[in-house]
Amino acid sequence: MNWDAWLPVLVVASSLLPGLVIFFLREGSHRLRTALNLVGAILKLVLVGILIWGVFHEHVYESRWTLAPGLDLVLHADTLSVLFVTLSTVLWLVTTVYAIGYLENAPHRSRFFGFFSLCVSATVGLALAGNLFTFVIFYELLTLSTYPLIAHRGTPEAVRGARIYLAYTLGGGMLLLIGTVWLHVLAGPTAFVEGGILGRLPAEYHPQLKVIFLLLIIGLGVKAALVPLHGWLPQAMVAPAPVSALLHAVAVVKAGAFGIVRVVYDVYGVNFTDQLGLLTGLGIAAAITIVYGSIKALFQDNLKKRLAYSTVSQVSYIALGTAILGPIGTIGGIVHLVHQGIMKITLFFTAGNYAETLGIHKVSEMNGVGRRMPATTLAFSVAALGMIGVPPVAGFVSKWYLGLGALEAGMAAWVMPVLIISSVLNAAYFLPVLYRAWFREPGPAWPAEHIPAARFETSAALLWPPVVTATLALAAGLFAAAPYSPLEWATLIAHREYGL
Amino acid sequence: MTELLLLSATGLMLSLFLGLLRVLLGPSAGDRMLATQLIGTVGVGMLLVLSVLLDEPALIDVALLLALLAAVAAAAFTGQQEARHD
């Protein structure tokens, strides 16, 4: 093995090894734990930087380890994986900082950060998976490492939420596994290849392939929270805020969406999927989810639940983009993978800040919070506006490309209304919050003030992460055309997928 | 001679059968044990006859052992009844 083969392994290991060490740290060794976390995160960032450069210049990074005859664990860096890896790495660093602040003086931090690192490792491994087999392995690992995080608080609700999460994801994982095995029997090792590999199978397999597609999409749809498989997501809100942030922006939900993208583009091939007549079905499922999630979000008073349903809706933009044939729709879907992540993590950070600093959990308690916590609320506003699709925030870019792609693919007739309705609904559930925060008079007292305002409105470790991610969201929109921007990278991916 | 031995083997068999009936009929455990003793004695005789009939001298050893251990069994039977009296 040379350097090129080791790089993907190192990317995964840079969070895995610190995580394993952290498990065995004493609860009190606070500094060592922080150092390990940050060193791992920064090291990973550096490694990913090398990866980005290399993949752009068409270097092949691949490591292969045989688990059983015909079953290889393959870590392979291509353009799509690099996009997801980068997102995870950057947001992991930010979330780690946030979590260190958030969990100050909380119990069981060694366990928490251990699983936190495992979770990120699983996500990165999933991003770098070079075939469906590897993907499934990391997909299940992700389930396993998130379970303790959701159950972390140990309250009956937490344990219950974790159990529901598990029931959904393990059930979905089983379908995914069956689909994968079936595909493996039909087509052999299903490596991820741009343009897909199944098109060459004889036509008599097509009915089976359709069933398999259904199995795979249901399996992935559970994590991606496609309606009606989304039931676990609001329940999982009991987790600590950094966990919610990670679940919604990077790890679980995004893993499902990423898997759908992988299956459609790199296993079936988008043209072949269309040929089997499966794209429209996927699109319709996505459209229903988008609208349904938005409507549900409208009626939630609990801020985190409102954000959760917003996630249900927003993540399906990615699936929608996948379902739109043609490079432009593809760009829209893929770039939303990143944009939604940055924006949603900001929203969860800020929601966590409200809860930690002032004890605010509900929308109705947010009156005038902008005056008490201006920076946090500003970050919240930027992200919320981005979600609605207001330029120049990142969300606008995604929606623009989705619309354009639908027009190009001749699917505008139903995609456009969905986009418009959803944007209106987005506005309907975010703008009143912004109004309350900035323009309503605050009540006589906050529900429970934990962190008194001193130098900053809240502790620094809590404040900086949302500010940074909000800035990133803004930058992703403003500098969308810059080289190495998410949009540019998504364009690169789309071009390679379509062989342009 | 062979015929005589055959006859006696079969006759012993008949004797054993009668003993068997007593084992089955009982009525008391003592009766059964007694009948088992009889079966043992008949068995010894049968083995002796068979040893000549089949030309297998080792069967005499078997008969000897059977005779000795039948006594042990009887002792075990009564011994275990004895011990209940304490």
Binding site: - | L4, S8, F17, G30, T41, I60, A67
Partner: protein, 94 residues
């Protein structure tokens, strides 16, 4: 000559065996049955053994046959005694 004697002994033995067994079956209670067994059967075995001993060529075999008979005699005497005593005890207890 020996053959004849041996045959007679064996037949006599057989007779006593059968008599003992019939006695065991027909006699009314345990104590009378005891007699049938200890007397008739042991005699039967003795005659049988004697008959076979005449028939055998080796001295050792003959000695073994004698030993067997003695063993059975002693064993059945003892066990008959034990069984009778035990039955007796159970009766008195009742």
């Amino acid at each position: 000559m020996i053959n004849l004697a041996s045959s007679i002994l064996i037949l006599a033995g057989l007779f006593f065996y059968l008599a003992g067994s019939i006695g065991l079956l027909r006699l009314p209670d345990l104590y009378t049955r005891l007699h049938a067994l200890t007397k008739a059967d042991n005699l039967g075995l003795g005659l049988l053994a004697a008959g076979l001993a005449l028939h055998s060529q080796h001295l050792l075999t003959s000695l073994k046959l004698l030993l067997i008979w003695l063993a059975v005699l002693a064993a059945s005497a003892t066990s008959a005694h034990l069984i009778a005593r035990q039955a007796r005890r159970q009766e008195t207890r009742r």
